[in-house]
């Protein structure tokens, strides 16, 4: 999958997987969101896993980008799951009072994909 920014986006079945391994600021964040949404548009993906295992810090700016990306993806019919949040990152966000509600989360990529596939199956079966 081609991306304009430095963050790669892979396709896993009907889902997308992206791993954020660098600082998200300004142009990088812009490009990231653009690439994600274009990928959803191109592939018709119904799920997006954002892997933030590589982030040793998430401030409210980055948290907002993740939440916004999730909301944008939802408008295009894709459910987003953020995975791999480090314990110290989770503790810091909660201490700040930033609960990141409205963003689904899972332990790691496996769990995130499993969650999306489970939802997609349920939807297909009409449950």
């Amino acid at each position: 999958m081609s991306a304009h920014g430095p963050i790669p986006i892979l396709r896993v079945g009907s889902n997308l997987l992206t791993t954020i391994h660098i600082d998200l600021h300004d142009t990088v964040a812009e490009a990231f969101q653009q690439d994600v949404l274009l990928s959803i548009e191109r592939t018709g993906a119904t799920g997006l896993v954002i892997d933030i295992t590589g982030l040793d810090e998430v401030d409210t700016y980055v948290a907002r980008i993740l939440a916004d990306t999730g909301r944008m993806a939802k408008l295009m019919g894709a459910q987003t799951v953020v995975v791999g949040m480090r314990p110290e990152v989770a503790a810091t966000l909660i201490r700040m009072g930033y609960l990141m509600e409205g963003v689904e989360t899972a332990l790691d990529v496996d769990e995130g994909l499993a969650l999306l596939i489970d939802r997609q199956n349920k939807k297909r079966r009409g449950t």
């Binding site: 600021h25 409210t60 700016y61 480090r86 201490r95 700040m96 009072g97």
Partner: protein, 137 residues
């Protein structure tokens, strides 16, 4: 009695500078034995406040100081700008100021990440935020 062991001054003139400030704070925290949770709290606070300087303050500077009371290490960060200042500090600190929502959430949140927090601001004269975090013993 608290002593300054070393200090650095970093400009905040472009968005990239936020990353430099954060990296310096992180490197210092890890060197001085802060654990992962304390380091994350400090660097996140640094990011938030540095970003405020850049976004709301029109640029400014960060002063990073390594402190000691003889036994523990403290890291004190000062963020100063000569921007418009904060008009309604109380509301901002409660995190509920709607037009400056991004500012409020960051500032009131960072207060909970550090042991010492001081905010000085005057409309039209700029803002100075000083935070400090100490190692546990």
């Amino acid at each position: 009695m608290v002593e300054i062991v070393q200090s650095w001054e970093l400009p905040i003139a472009r968005e990239e500078d936020i990353v430099f400030v954060r990296r310096k704070a992180r490197a210092l925290a890890q060197e001085r034995g802060f654990d992962a949770f304390a380091t994350a709290a400090l660097t996140t606070a640094a990011s938030e406040l540095a970003r405020n300087v850049w976004v709301h303050g029109g640029g400014g500077k960060a002063i990073i100081e390594e402190l000691t009371d003889g036994y523990r290490t403290g890291i004190r960060l000062t963020f100063a700008d000569e921007g418009p200042g904060i008009a309604d500090v109380d509301r901002v600190m409660q995190g509920g100021f709607s037009t400056a929502r991004s500012l409020g959430l960051g500032v009131s949140g960072t207060r909970r990440l550090v042991e010492e927090f001081d905010l000085q601001t005057q409309p039209g004269k700029g803002t100075k935020v000083i935070i400090c975090k100490w190692t546990r013993f």
